[in-house]
Subunit: 228 residues, 2 copies
């Protein structure tokens, strides 16, 4: 029987590459995109486009309005920081951090994984060029996986089990770009920018754009992105 | 400063008692109810009624459509089991189990807790009369709490910290009823039934009704519930 994986697909460069990696490992893909009422709604269209291109078995876009809780520049009317230095990115958790976002996303993936008896969850977190978010670290992923075993039928003697796969966790952005190229990812369909221009371009200056742009440069791969 | 707690409030007997316990401990309450597209939607009205009665600081009802994933009699068109014996309840996980529900609920509570800098999450899980769900056990709660520390700013040296409080975890249903009475809970406002009758009564025969009914009986407390 084909193994199934839930892939958390934001429509960004990382999650798209993680999805392609899952597919290359032979998994049939169930793609999960969370519409958390993010201000950069353009990424939802990218996720749908990527899901179509990868011909996933099913794509669910689930509305979960994290704006109800506030606390982030990605959901509230707080300015997205621009042109931050590497030092600034490494030194502090930015206002673009969404409280517990990856925990919420992984929990929803877990709910689908248990219902569909999927063997794995793929998430494109990355501990190197990770913009300082606590929920992108290997320690967090390991703790989530341990919790997930106890949370589900697997933890009370069921014969289903699950792993959380993070194929990008130890890669630099340039390595992710190269991996994506090897896997045939069409990066022109992906979206990274936290603060798109009114005419739908990547701003080129938010943390996510800065990391993306440099990733292509350092990988020596032509960047298909239209920056402002 | 008043300590704040996120309380997961379904509108049932357990979560209402847990909320009252949090209030008795001096917490200001932020009540979170998840509309997961459950078939027994009557409990959402109970949650709103309880939140009003407790005069919580804020009540958020967040739609998260777990029906998108399927796998439970509480969200799908699967019959809710009736009249199960204690032996049957203890022997297997029932079809009313919703995959990873408490993980999803706690994760959303965590998101709000971090955004609001709340010191605690209260959840009315119960490991004795727990209907066989894996995500009601102390091991699971401890694993969630450990994961939550790593998931948030607390895990990267922030000065905020959080505990997950389970005041009911070691109590029988009868003990929960007695605790609720001591705390002044108006159980007539709470809702337990998984399968309400068309005229809005508790069915009296699903696992949740059986546990509720016997809880009042064993506590020697008059049961205000209108059963079919």
């Amino acid at each position: 029987m084909t193994r199934r994986a839930i892939v958390l697909l934001s429509g960004g460069l990382d999650s798209t590459t993680a999805a392609a990696a899952a597919q290359a490992q032979g998994y049939s893909l169930l793609a999960l995109t969370i519409d958390y009422n993010q201000r950069h709604r353009r990424e939802l269209a990218a996720a749908a486009d990527v899901a179509r291109t990868l011909e996933v078995a099913r794509h669910v876009v689930l509305p979960v309005d994290l704006r109800a809780f506030g606390g982030s520049a990605l959901t509230d009317e707080i300015a997205v920081p621009k042109g931050r230095s590497d030092h600034a990115m490494a030194a502090e958790i930015p206002v673009t951090y969404v409280p517990a976002r990856n925990t919420v996303f992984l929990s929803l993936a877990l709910a689908w994984a248990e219902a569909a008896q999927a063997q794995a969850i793929f998430i494109g977190v990355n501990a190197l060029d990770y913009s300082g978010y606590p929920d992108c670290r290997p320690d967090f992923i390991a703790a989530f996986e341990a919790m997930a075993r106890l949370a589900t039928k697997a933890g009370v003697g069921g014969d289903w089990s699950l792993t959380v796969e993070t194929p990008l966790i130890a890669l630099s952005k340039a390595q992710i770009v190269r991996l994506g190229v090897d896997l045939g990812v069409d990066f022109g369909r992906t979206w990274s920018c936290y603060d798109p221009t009114p005419d739908g371009l990547h701003c080129g200056q938010c943390d996510s754009c800065l990391l993306r742009r440099r990733g292509f440069q350092e990988a020596g791969v032509p960047d298909p992105t239209a920056y402002a």
